[in-house]
Amino acid sequence: VSFDHLVDPRLWAPLFDLSDPTHAQASWRFLARGMVLTLQITAISAVASLVLGTLLALLRLTRTAAVHYPALLLIEGVRALPVLFIIFFTWAALLRVRDLPLWVPATIGLTIYTSAVAAEIIRAGIGSIEVGQLEASRALGLSYPKTMRHVILPQALRRMVPPLMGQLITLLKDTSLASIIGMAEFFRQGVILYNFWGNPLQTLLTVAAVYFLVNTTLSRLSQRLEAGHEKTQRVRVATAETTAA
């Protein structure tokens, strides 16, 4: 083991040498193109999964057995499979479609997996609200949709935010798997770059650091969101109290 190679400035130069920035600029521009794709796939999958996940959760919550059990089977089955397997399967299944851009199977695969996880988070969030609340608002004469909208969902949503944000971070990390089916997202650009410069350790550590920065920024944001939420909630309670008084 020798760490000379790790700290060799010539191997860091293609990324960080500012005295002659042409190489570094080219490297980072190349990586940035990958990051744009990574963020695009993440965003599309996140939105699609939220919609599909909500739908699946509602299907699972219905009492009709013919709807409930298929939804349950789908959610539990998909959650029990590796994401990479799902991405590969989607890719292989869509291979016969001509001229399909690679981001399509990647995004569909990620969305299938993430919607199942999101469905479970959403179902758990709704289920965590005591039955008593549902019964009380129904007894007070609110219809079922109104109970959902005004009593159950506002509380449940707040409980879902932290796990959903966690899943968003997982999703962003999982987009790196799209590189395995050949997509030129951030990680793959990194691999191409280190093969060009011949500095795998340095480039990979930089790539990991960028993922780290993006993800920690996301989790900071989610904490802010939660804190902000609580504050507005408290304000609302306070105003309710003063108006009541």
């Binding site: 990390k173 990979l204 993922y211």
Partner: protein, 215 residues
């Protein structure tokens, strides 16, 4: 279906590799994770900070990137790991960051009173850790650790990216050779479910037992 029948030995050897990967990585994750988890609550300056740096770094970058660092990055400083062991290390260290979080939360769930009581009864910090805190923390950590083991079992599939001949890798190879996409992937799917579904059932049972035990 012929394609599945003919290649069943290959698929089963892939399943075996997947299981070996998962078990070895789990042992590494539990050992390293418990150590780091304990480091994070030690009342010594700088040590908890190091622990959380470890956790944050390994949790917030993709496993695939880490696997490449172990397999393609480390040889440049003279550490050459064969693919299987690079995958075990990557999976184990990645999962250990999550284990550390669970262990830390478990330790902090033991009420302060117990710690103070143990210390005032004359137990040293390490003794109170060993005899009072960790045994109680252990019970709380079992269900989340079970979930991590399931996630680990699924993550073993990423080892196929560095050509470890696991279940997914074998499936891909057979698919590339036979083009019997649906039967092959269905077989691979069933084999994954055979591992993960009993595990999640097990976690559910443990969770219910734990609730009963607390009462």
């Amino acid at each position: 279906v012929r394609a599945v029948q003919d290649n069943l030995p290959l698929l089963l050897s892939g399943l075996r590799t997947t299981a070996e990967l998962g078990l070895l990585a789990l042992v590494l994750a539990l050992v390293a994770g418990t150590l780091v988890g304990v480091l994070r609550v030690l009342p010594v300056p700088a040590v908890p900070w190091l622990g959380s740096a470890y956790v944050e770094f390994f949790r917030n970058s993709p496993l695939l990137v880490q696997m490449y660092i172990w397999f393609f990055g480390l040889p440049t400083i003279g550490v050459v790991l064969p693919p299987f062991w690079a995958a075990v290390t990557a999976l184990g260290i990645y999962t250990s960051a999550f284990v550390a979080e669970v262990v830390r939360a478990g330790i902090q769930s033991v009420s302060r009173g117990h710690v103070e009581a143990a210390r005032s009864l004359g137990l040293s910090y390490l003794q109170s850790m060993r005899h009072v805190i960790l045994p109680q923390a252990f019970a709380v950590t079992i269900p989340p650790l079970g979930n991590l083991a399931i996630a680990l079992a699924k993550n073993t599939s990423i080892a196929s990216a560095i050509a470890v001949a696991d279940l997914l890798y074998q499936g891909e190879l057979i698919n590339a050779r036979t083009f019997a996409t649906y039967p092959i992937f269905l077989a691979v799917m069933v084999l994954y479910l055979v591992i993960t579904i009993p595990m999640s059932r097990g976690v559910n049972v443990l969770e219910r037992r734990l609730v009963a035990y607390r009462r």
